[in-house]
Symmetry: C2
Subunit: 322 residues, 2 copies
């Protein structure tokens, strides 16, 4: 079975790449940046080149959907680059294609806060897609970089779906009907996304789970089934949001970057400031097979399980990256 994970930001290491192989992970969309300039992003891409050199027996870069199929054939995990924040393109439209050429295949228009392009899900007012944002959407459409609105506010998200001439994704988020949070997505967003051919990746980040770390696999898979009933099985996938082995400093960096003088706790709180504990059935990249079991048990047939685990992502990427 082809397994594709729609988002991860782990502290990459050989043990994690080995877990990916153990978990049968065909490809992963990895986050390159939260808050980084164009120049800093080159260093991050350079560091990935070193990982490809050092661990070429386990991982390989992905530029095309054919690369994902190739990874499956040769038993490696394909690495797909993405930005959770448009900071690397700065105020320069031409950097969309420059970073596409370097392998970046997904870009969020916002990461929680207002960006130059759109409004993030933590802002109190949502002004929608900006003038620059419209230019960037058109350019992403042209080169084949996928728009990701996981961390965006509702109006901005609906406008992005409307303005984009190609389907977009919410690579890692869960429906509000299951769990209420600033990062959750309304029925309207989910239905509009799907009607436009978009894809929703279900998150396994504990703050996105109804009972956090205590959420059961059956409960999670029930949410998947309910969403499938709502929008069909062809528009859903996994976007685990796994952040394996990251220190607290990285969580603080994700939440505060260089923009906050006081500590922002994001989805946590002063009393709950650290990384949440993963549920016991999804601790690491080795645990993707548990999702397969859970999806079967909730009633999906084999073809549907294959679509949700990776088939839908593969089809989406095949159409998107041209």
């Amino acid at each position: 079975m082809i397994t594709i994970d729609g988002t991860q930001y782990s502290k990459w290491s050989r043990p994690i790449f080995e877990q990916m192989r153990a978990g049968g992970v065909t490809a992963v969309h990895v986050t390159l940046v939260y808050h980084a300039s164009a120049r800093e992003t080159l260093t991050i891409i350079g560091a990935w080149h070193r990982l490809f050199e050092a661990h070429g027996d386990l991982i390989m870069p992905v530029f095309t959907a054919a690369d994902i199929r190739h990874a499956h054939e040769v038993g490696k995990t394909g690495i797909i680059f993405g930005f959770q924040n448009p900071s690397p393109i700065e105020d320069e439209l031409a950097l969309v294609e420059v970073f596409y050429q370097l392998g970046v295949r997904f870009m969020q228009l916002t990461y929680n806060n207002q960006s130059l392009l759109a409004t993030g899900c933590y802002e109190s007012a949502d002004s929608g897609i900006t003038r620059y944002g419209r230019q960037v959407i058109a350019e992403m459409n042209r080169v084949g970089m996928v728009i990701d609105m996981s961390h965006s506010a509702e109006k901005s998200t609906l406008e992005a779906i409307e303005i984009s001439e190609r389907p977009i994704v919410i690579s890692h988020a869960n429906p509000l009907f299951w769990h209420d949070s600033l990062r959750g997505k309304s029925d309207v967003v989910i239905k509009t996304l799907a009607e436009a051919g978009g894809l929703l990746g279900f998150s396994l980040y504990p703050f996105h789970l109804r009972q956090h770390s205590a959420t059961t696999l059956a409960d999670f898979c029930g949410m998947v089934a309910k969403t499938a009933d709502m929008i069909g099985v062809q528009n859903i996938g996994i976007g685990s949001d796994l952040c394996q082995d990251q220190p607290l400093s990285i969580l603080e960096w994700m939440r505060n970057g260089r923009w906050s003088k006081t500590m922002d706790y994001g989805e946590g709180s002063a009393a709950n400031a650290t990384w949440p504990e993963q549920p016991d059935w999804f601790q690491s990249n080795a645990d993707f097979p548990n999702l397969i079991v859970g999806l079967r048990e909730i009633g999906f047939d084999e073809d549907e399980v294959a679509q949700i685990m990776g088939g839908n992502w593969l089809r989406f990427c095949e159409e998107a990256w041209v």
Copy 2:
């Protein structure tokens, strides 16, 4: 006939691209930077993407030797990126592969002055390849970026040929035996370069010509013939160094960058500070056919002319960019 020009830095425009087609130019190695940081170089690459979009009927990007053959088949001019100065990689080894991925296929280790890698041809003392320089040469060898020593000092050049495990080039320079200048190359350098499988591109920049603008086509082609007698016809090509339509400010930038407080006149002088006049038989990209005529008249057979005009560059690139 496949015509490949080993170096140009023109003020790119549609009229110049049209001249390239009129002149039967199959591919050109274009200079992206003289003095630019990594970040600035991204903007320059972005500007080229715009040119490819706007003039896609005349030009196309080149990443592989197959792209050059394709350009020939479809009647376009292939554009090959190169740096005349290693400034874009700054002090970060990993940027070699990053820029290779963005299409950069040639990099000079120095531009006249000492760089982090080697010594330029205008320095009074030549310390050879530096510690970082050795790392960069190994990395360029690994990824397939070609080392270019056109603007380097003699000892540095000989060391680069020795240290590099792959053939290198002097993309645009002429032999000292024909014209004495700081930028000219000694017999020792030319022979060592050729013995290691390297390639010398003959320059048509007037300061590199024996009688500057008044140099005749026959005199130029005589130099080509004498060099061919010395090292064989398979190791030579053209590297015109054409700088069409550039304002004086660009010449001053090339010569002074951000490093000089007083005006440096490079190959010129205070009394001769501006762009030199091209010889009447090589005014623009439309004049490459004149070189074909001149090479025939000096006695090269058709096969040899084809090698010198582009065949040797094509073979070199085919072996280099892997």
